[in-house]
């Protein structure tokens, strides 16, 4: 049995000494003397040859298992800065992973929303700032040119609704049947996606409301109608077919908006009276949703 410490005194370079097979084997299995372990480890830190020789004594199956798990962890997207920030705030990681399947949170969708918003806002701004000549008829309490806001007021909550609809409509989820057949609560899944889609869509819309030439309270006034329209769609989905529910919710906003615009009172749709109406509808929708949410646990779509 050769001594692990050869007679060569003092500092030994890698070229002169390498751990032999017995030594590596005893180190790998944990039967080596602790002093020997120190020596071997100090050597391994600098000697690639002995490191690869050690592989022969390692547990191959365990290494292979860890390797495949590693490659899976690498393949699963870790998420961007946003996700890490939310994780730190305490949102469970698995909920965030569920959002990856939501089309309305994808860059392509958000860019489209941004595009529509830009067009509508740009048109309003262009009229206001005189780039395009327009007839000025009907003033509303001193706000300039309320009619230029009509397209924006029509589109804004509908864009938010579109985002939420894409989050809960089965036709937007290719693996919808898998989600139904899985134990994870269908209602929780729907809520997580809808709330995130709502938040994501509200940002460009409310942001544009700051830019659009209108009253200063416009950005805040858009929140309740957007929320109401989305809540109505979700609640209606417990009664109607999902697509019909989304269309109904959209019509519920579009019709009054168009009528008021035709009557030269587009801003009335976000005035306090309308806000109270929205609040009432929102409460009703929330109640219906809570009472009938188990409809989302079935595939349901007969």
């Amino acid at each position: 049995m050769t001594s692990p410490f050869p007679d060569a005194a003092g500092r030994v370079t890698e070229a002169a000494w390498h751990a032999d097979a017995d030594l590596l084997a005893s180190y790998a299995t944990g039967t080596a003397d602790p002093v020997v372990v120190w020596s071997v480890e100090a050597h391994l830190a600098g000697c690639a040859q002995c490191r690869s020789a050690l592989s022969a004594h390692a547990d191959a199956e365990r290494l292979a298992r860890n390797r495949s798990v590693l490659l899976v962890r690498v393949a699963v997207p870790g998420g961007g800065r946003m996700r890490r920030l939310l994780c730190r705030c305490g949102v469970p990681d698995h909920l965030l992973r569920l959002l990856a399947a939501t089309p309305s949170l994808r860059r392509s969708w958000l860019l489209s929303v941004l595009g529509v918003v830009a067009v509508v806002t740009g048109e309003a701004a262009a009229v206001r700032y005189g780039w395009i000549r327009a007839d000025r008829t009907g003033r509303l309490a001193g706000y300039p040119d309320p009619e230029v806001l009509a397209p924006f007021l029509l589109a804004a909550p509908l864009l938010v609704l579109a985002g939420v609809a894409a989050a809960f409509l089965p036709s937007f989820d290719p693996a919808f049947r898998l989600a139904v057949a899985a134990p994870f609560s269908g209602f929780t899944l729907l809520l997580v996606r809808s709330v995130s889609a709502l938040a994501a869509a509200l940002i460009p819309v409310v942001g544009a409301a700051f830019v659009v030439p209108g009253p200063g309270w416009l950005p805040a006034a858009l929140l309740l109608p957007s929320l109401t329209v989305c809540a109505f769609a979700l609640a209606a989905a417990t009664v109607l077919e999902p697509r019909a529910a989304a269309v109904t919710a959209g019509a519920l906003w579009a019709l009054p908006a168009l009528l008021l615009a035709a009557a030269h009172l587009p801003l009335a749709i976000v005035q306090p009276n309308a806000q109270f109406a929205c609040a009432a509808v929102l409460c009703a929708a929330a109640a219906v949703l809570l009472a009938r949410h188990d409809r989302f646990e079935w595939g349901g779509m007969r």
């Binding site: 490659l71 899976v72 393949a75 990856a100 049947r177």
Partner: protein, 289 residues
């Protein structure tokens, strides 16, 4: 309507389902035990409807379902069934921008595996089981049809389900992959109840010890593949010419005509019936009604 099904098995009783004018399922009674059961029938026979009802994705119009003693009409029991379930629907769609591992991770979350590490281990396990280990980072849109099918089977295996429902799992697989699929099914841990549907009789004969033939929404046969073949005993012939009086006849690979019927043509010899022959005879009979 009592359902005498032990808690170790899956059963349906008097199941009916109608879509508009079509009666997709008509008073179906069935019991599925541990092991592999094959559901054989043409497209439109009600296989997909039956499987989707078993997978709690669909509700029947009438009838009772019992999965390991649990009733899917009760909300809490339904969730418990889904915990033990693995389901591959027909024509499963995928989020095309997902990677293979990303998609499986997503399904694993839906199956309530909340711990990230456990999910990665499960995903690695099922990827190895279907032979897609090297594809963890590939985007789904870059996969071939056969690989996508294997991915579908992989997601059904997540969580080691006790009830595995596979709707046309061998569609799009080449013969070597079918062989691997058979090996995979026979080696699953925990001896689950497996039910798979197909319209190819030779697949069934190789994989399933138990066969159910579903025609026009009704169960026409339950038994082993050998028994199904035996139903055509004495009515399958091989000859050198075609015969117009036979129920069915076609030219086989050996350049001889194969007839299924009651009256053999002259010069024909009796041959041993295959599972397919039995199935064809049954569907012929069903069609005649």
């Amino acid at each position: 309507m009592t359902l005498n099904v032990s808690t170790a098995a899956v059963g349906v009783n008097g199941l009916s389902r109608r879509y508009g004018a079509t009666q997709a399922l008509d008073r179906v009674d069935l019991t599925l035990e541990r092991g592999i059961t094959g559901l054989l029938g043409p497209n439109g026979a009600g296989k997909t409807t039956l499987l989707s009802i078993l997978a709690t994705v669909n509700e029947p119009d009438t009838g009772r379902v019992s999965v390991f003693g649990l009733d899917p009409r009760q909300a809490a029991e339904r969730v418990e069934i889904r915990r033990r379930l693995g389901y591959l629907p027909q024509e499963l769609g995928y989020h095309r921008h997902f990677t293979v591992a990303g998609f499986l991770d997503y399904v694993a979350i839906l199956k309530e595996i909340t711990d990230r590490r456990r999910r990665a281990e499960e995903v690695a396990r099922v990827l190895a089981a279907v032979g897609l280990e090297g594809r963890a980072r590939t985007r789904i849109r870059a996969l071939s049809g056969g690989m996508r099918q294997r991915l579908g089977i992989a997601q059904a295996l997540l969580g080691e389900p006790e009830l595995l429902i596979l709707d046309e799992p061998t569609a799009g697989l080449d013969p070597e992959q079918r062989l691997r699929f058979r090996e995979l099914l026979s080696g699953l841990p925990g001896d689950p109840v497996i039910v798979l549907s197909t319209h190819q009789a030779d697949d069934l004969a190789a994989i399933c010890p138990q066969v159910v033939v579903l025609l026009q929404g009704q169960v026409r046969f339950t038994g082993t593949p050998a028994e199904l073949a035996a139903t055509a005993a004495g009515r399958v012939w091989a000859a050198d010419e075609r015969d117009g009086r036979a129920h069915l006849s076609w030219r086989g690979g050996d350049n001889r005509w194969r007839h299924i019927g009651d009256h053999p043509p002259g010069g024909a010899e009796l041959v041993a019936p295959t599972v397919e022959d039995g199935y064809l005879l049954l569907s012929q009979a069903a069609g005649a009604r």
